[in-house]
Structure formats: C-alpha cells, structure tokens
C-alpha cells in the first residue's frame, strides 16, 4: 500500500475524526490562550494522562473482547491502598519495586476473580464487575479500615520525585516522571497482543462473535480469563502509580472515574459491542479526555461550567465517530438489494 493510499484510508477511519476533534480542541484553546501551545502544557498533560491511560488501554482490551468492566477503579484503589498500608506498617526502606509488584499482584488476583466468574458462569461482564466492584471496595474498607496513609515509605516517596527529564523555562517548569514508562509499557504490550499474537486475534474474535470464535477453535474461556486478569494487572499498576503521584493514599480516590475512562476508549472508536478497537484510537480518545479535563481553566471557562463542557466534548466526539461509522456502513453493499451480484458489486 502506497503512502497516499494509506493516508486516504486513514481519512476514512474513525481515528481520523478523533484526531480532528483533538486538533480542533487544541486550536480553540490555543486561540483563547496562547500559553496553551507550549511544551509545558504538553508535559503536564502527559503526566496527567499516566494513571487514566494505563486503565484506558486495559479497559479497551475488555471492550474489544465484548465485555464492559466497571470494577477497575475498585481494583486499583484496593491494590494501592492495601499495599500502601502494608508497607507503611512495615516501615519499608527496601526497593520500590516490591510495593509496585505487590499492588500489581493484588490487582491481577482480583481481576482473575472477575475473569473466572465471567468465563465459567458466562455472565455479562458489566453485571459481574458491578457486583465485584462493591465487593472489592467494601472488603477493603471493612477489613483494614479507611485511615489514609499520609506519608509514603521513603523509597516510594523518592520514586515519586524521579523524573525522566525536566524542561525549565522562565516562569514555568515541567517534567515527565519516571512512571510515564509504565504507561508506555502498557501501550506497547496491548499493541503487541492485539496485533502480533494469536491471543489478540482471539480477543477480536470472541468480541465479534463468541460462538463463531469457539467453533473456530479459540479457547474462549482462557482468553476471557486472561482479559480480565490483565485489566486487574493494569488497575493494580495504575493504582500504585496514583498513590506514588499523590505521595499519599486515600481509600476513596479513583472511584467514580470509570465512566470517563470507558468514554476515552469509546471516543477512540472502540466498538462498545465488542470486536473493534485500536490502540491508536484509544490514544486519541485519551488525549481528548485529558485535554478537556485539564485545560478548561486556560480557556477561561469558570469552574461552574466545566462539567457541562466536558460532557459536551464527549457527546460531540462520540457523535463524530459514530456518524463516520454509520456512513461507512451505508456504503457497504446491501445483500438483499444486490442478490446475485453482491460480491462483485461490493469489490
């Protein structure tokens, strides 16, 4: 495929329309306030997108496989708070990798619980995770109480200040923290799974049509368990990164963020019914949500109107990609109208 043809194909994809929305939003904000169009804004937005980003790509995997997981904030907060309290109690001074691995392990375990229930009882993920979300969060508060951790162990605290690089200007300075690698790692892993592995084919297949996938020989049960375990894994990671970024841990944070995360994936063209979705689309969806959540002050929009504007951007964004999908569908040959020559006409 030549570059020109590739570009033409891209302009017809739903990703293109999300990209257009992102560029449009940036242009509008930039016109209202030129300070937006600086490298500092970019770095600040990059940092603000780390925690939601890690969750977006995991949730996207679940949606492609045909299930909407809403328990990931509960898994994230359970993993991070349990870990923070444990290592505060231990007065931990060892390497920071241990609490991170611990949080990831808790997240994976909780995600596997979701996966087992969904796979073995063939229940809708939305219903199961609605329940387990309360189960996990409730268990956390019930078992270890809700007293926050106000000071992290010293190695975790030091890690929270670790930066990949920092750019310092006259009035402002901005850095990309080391935790950015976790987001990048998640993106690379999800991209690799979806595009280069049989597992990825299977995830698309069971999201498209579960029965067909089973008949085609995919291990539907195994793939389902993997998907929810992976969401748990990523949530555990996102949780501990959130705690590291906050330099404190509260058992009530992140809860309530699920809808914006799902919105980011769906904005990026991930089909809510399963079977469709790309990493690039979700990167753009994440960008749109992060920019609209973190740049409205720069546009001079008063706090009272911000929630309204974020909602407007989500509705407009999903509307644009849904319109594009509808147009694409209308262009497909109608089997009934073109009976007989349908295949030829469709080429």
């Amino acid at each position: 495929m030549s570059i020109g043809a590739g570009l033409r194909k891209f302009t017809k994809s739903s990703e293109f329309y999300v990209l257009l929305a992102v560029v449009l939003l940036c242009a509008v904000i930039g016109m209202r306030n030129p300070a937006f169009l600086t490298v500092f804004t970019g770095l600040d937005l990059l940092r603000a997108s780390i925690v939601p980003g890690i969750m977006v790509f995991a949730v996207m995997l679940g949606i492609i496989a045909g299930g909407i997981d809403v328990s990931f904030p509960a898994i994230a907060v359970s993993s991070m708070f349990l870990t923070a309290r444990l290592f505060e109690y231990l007065e931990w001074t060892g390497p920071v990798a241990v609490p991170i691995l611990m949080s990831v392990a808790i997240g994976t375990a909780l995600g596997t619980v979701n996966g087992l229930i969904i796979a073995f009882f063939k229940l809708p993920a939305f219903i199961v995770t609605l329940g387990t979300s309360h189960l996990f969060h409730g268990m956390l508060v019930w078992s270890i109480g809700a007293r926050p951790v106000n000071r992290l162990p010293p190695t975790m605290d030091a890690f929270s200040r670790a930066e990949i690089f920092r750019i310092t200007g006259e009035t402002h300075s901005s850095a990309v923290p080391v935790t950015f690698w976790f987001l990048l790692g998640t993106i690379v892993v999800v991209y690799f799974i979806l595009n280069y592995t049989m597992l990825g084919r299977g995830i698309y297949a069971i999201g498209g049509d579960r029965v067909s996938a089973e008949r085609a020989g995919f291990n539907v049960r195994g793939i389902t368990i993997f998907v929810y375990a992976f969401i748990g894994f990523a949530s555990g990671l996102a949780g501990i990164v959130h705690t590291i970024q906050s330099r404190a841990s509260f058992p009530v944070e992140l809860i309530g963020s699920e809808l914006l995360i799902i919105a980011a994936a769906v904005l990026g063209g991930t089909h809510i019914g399963g079977g469709k979705g790309t990493v690039l689309g979700s990167i753009l969806g994440l960008a749109l949500i992060t920019i609209s959540r973190n740049s409205l002050i720069m546009m001079g929009i008063p706090a009272t109107a911000q929630m309204f504007v974020v909602g407007l951007i989500i509705v407009a964004g999903t509307g644009m990609s849904a319109y594009q999908a509808m147009r694409r569908e209308n262009k497909l040959p109608r089997i009934l109208d073109t009976a007989g020559g349908g295949v030829v006409a469709g080429k």
């Binding site: 500092f40 508060v141 809700a146 300075s173 509260f250 809860i255 973190n294």
Partner: protein, 360 residues
C-alpha cells in the same frame, strides 16, 4: 466428570455467597448492643457530669452522619463522638459512606429513621439534597442537629465552629500580609455546591477587596473534587495560565496538599504563599518544606462533641439560649442567630511552629 466438577463449583460458590451474606448481616449487628448496654449500666453515675446536673436517666441513641468516612478529618470527629458517648453514657456513634455522595447520605439517614434513633447530627455534602429526608426525620420525632450548613431549613439547630465570615477573613488577613498586599491570588473549593467552602471564599474575597485593594483574584474559584491530584493538576494549569500567580487559598482539607506538591515541584516555595483549611497530618510535610505557609481548622472532635451535646440538651427539653455552653473547647459561649444558628469561637491557626500540638 466435567459436569460434576461444575456442580461442585456452583455449590461452593453458592455456599460461599451465603456465608459472606450471613457474615455481612451478622457482623454489624452485635456491635451496637454492647455499646448501648455497657454505657447504660454506667449511666446513672456518669449522667451528672455530661448534662449539667439534670436528673434524667433516659439513654438516648444519637447518630452522627458525616460527609464521608476514611479521611483524617472525620476520623478525628469520631473521636469526639466516642468521647461524648464515654463521658455521658449515651449511645452515640458515627456513620457515613466512603464517598462524599449526597445520595448515599440520604440513604443512610433513611436507614437511621427506620431504626428509630433519637437524634441525628449531620454534616451534609449538599444541604439542598438533604432537606427532604431531614424533614421526614423531624416528622418522625427525631432531633436534627446540623454542622457546616448555614442555609439549612429542616434542622432544629445548626452549629458552626465560627462564623464563615470570620474564618474566611482569617485566611485573607494572613495571605494578604504574606503577599504584602500586592499580586494575584486564587482560591479552591472542594465542590461548587459545598456551602461552607464557598462562604469562606466569599468572605476572603470581600476582606481582600476591603483591606488589600492592590491584590487581584484570578480564575474565581476552582473545584478540586476533594482530590489532591485534581488540586495539583489545577495548580499547574493555573500557573501556566497566570504565570505571576502568587497566592493560593484551599478549602477542602486536601486542597493545600495538592497545591503544595505542585509548588514544591516547580521550585516556587519562596515565591508563592499557600493558606487553607487542612489538618497537620495531611499538610505537615508541606508546612515543613515551606510550600504551605499556614493552615487553619476547627478541631472536628470538639465539633462532634458539641453537636451531640446540643442534641442531648434538646432531647431532654432543656432551655436553649444565646450564650450557652456546649462543654467542648471553643463552644463554651455560643452565639445564637435567628433562633437556630449557633456560632462558636473555635478556629485554630497552625504554622510549622505549632503544628506538633495537634497530632491528628
């Protein structure tokens, strides 16, 4: 083989669920009765200390409903409620949901009405959304005392630790002096519907306009959703939008922590001034680094005690009057306005020098 395995699995899952449910139902049940019984035995001896010598040995159940549980602020309030229970022998306890959700507060209060408690002391997330359920509570003969709700209608009395005007002015007096009466500042509220936060900021802005005419408020007030990470991101955004921003005022307890972290990272500790409501355990590390200059609060333990004490006086039919004392520190000479709004004199200003006197 496979089929039987699934049967076993189903059975195990079902029995596990039953077990969890019975455990969940059984667990909360035993805890209130001992709390009610133990003090009841001790009540006759204890009663005179708590109730100013009134000879009334009825034991009342008083529920304190807080905005959310699991934060240092309301943990400290629970200490005051427990102290009240221990000193007076009444069945006083604190409850709340783990998120600051007005709908959850409504549900909790409905449960308390059904349980038939004698009094409810409540710290509303949103006054307007609680009016209906509190009216039902009063219809059911329950005494309702609120806190941090100067616009409430359906309560017997509301208690404030201080007038919100005085408290808002306290922050601006400090911030204005730190900034030398010059430069731009901005303010945060936990939520745009939190009455007290917005009244403090109103009062601060009014005090600034009257006393520091050369200072300028920018961006009005910003919403932190009571999340320090949101306050952090907003601070970065504000400093990009207004590079000469010098003053910050926080309202939710975690606002100054988020602001302080952004200030530290940008290396602006010496150029900027941060004041706001918080408690030492949350703001301590930033007071030490100099990112936060002053925090103020009222001791939630005393507020919790005072609410319960007032509820008890109302339940006993005692006289309620301007200038009365509710025993707790800062609440010993209450000003009564419009027949239902009590104001104390209980604000505490803390800097790095005296933070260690308040270990919570």
């Amino acid at each position: 083989m496979k089929k039987s395995a699934r049967k076993v699995l189903t059975l195990v899952a079902a029995s596990a669920m039953v077990l969890v449910m019975t455990a969940a139902c059984a667990a909360p049940a035993p805890s209130p009765p001992p709390a009610a019984q133990a003090p009841a035995d001790a009540a006759p001896a204890d009663t005179p200390t708590g109730a100013a010598g009134v000879n009334d040995d009825r034991v009342f159940t008083i529920a304190t409903v807080v905005k959310l549980t699991g934060v240092g602020w309301f943990d400290r309030m629970e200490e005051g409620v427990n102290r009240f229970a221990a000193e007076t022998g009444h069945d006083a306890f604190q409850t709340g949901h783990i998120t600051a959700d007005p709908a959850e507060q409504v549900r909790i209060i409905e449960d308390l009405i059904a349980q038939g408690v004698d009094a409810i002391a409540v710290v509303p997330n949103s006054t307007a959304s609680l009016e209906g359920v509190l009216a039902r509570a009063m219809d059911a003969g329950i005494v309702v005392i609120s806190h941090e709700a100067t616009d409430i209608q359906n309560a017997h009395f509301n208690i404030e630790a201080f007038t919100n005007e005085d408290y808002g002015a306290l922050f601006m007096r400090t911030l204005g002096e730190l900034m030398g009466g010059e430069g731009t500042y901005t303010a945060f509220v936990g939520s745009l519907t939190a009455t007290s936060h917005n009244e403090w900021v109103d009062a601060s802005i009014a005090y600034q306009e009257a006393n520091f005419p050369n200072m300028v408020n920018v961006a009005g007030r910003n919403e932190s959703a009571e999340d320090p990470v949101v306050a952090y991101n907003r601070t970065l955004e504000l400093l990009r939008t207004y590079p000469d921003l010098r003053g910050f005022q926080g309202s939710a307890g975690s606002d100054v922590a988020g602001i302080g972290r952004a200030i530290e990272e940008l290396g602006l500790v010496n150029e900027t001034f941060v004041v706001g409501t918080s408690i030492p355990s949350v703001a301590g590390q930033f007071l030490e680094s100099g990112a936060i200059d002053m925090i103020a609060f009222w001791d939630p333990a005393d507020a919790g005690f005072a609410m319960n004490e007032l509820a008890l006086r109302v339940l006993r039919g005692e006289e309620i009057y301007d200038g009365m004392s509710l025993t707790a520190a800062g609440y010993q000479n209450m000003t009564l306005v419009d027949g239902m709004f009590f104001f104390g004199n209980a604000s505490v200003a803390v800097t790095v020098d005296n933070m260690h006197e308040y270990p919570f």
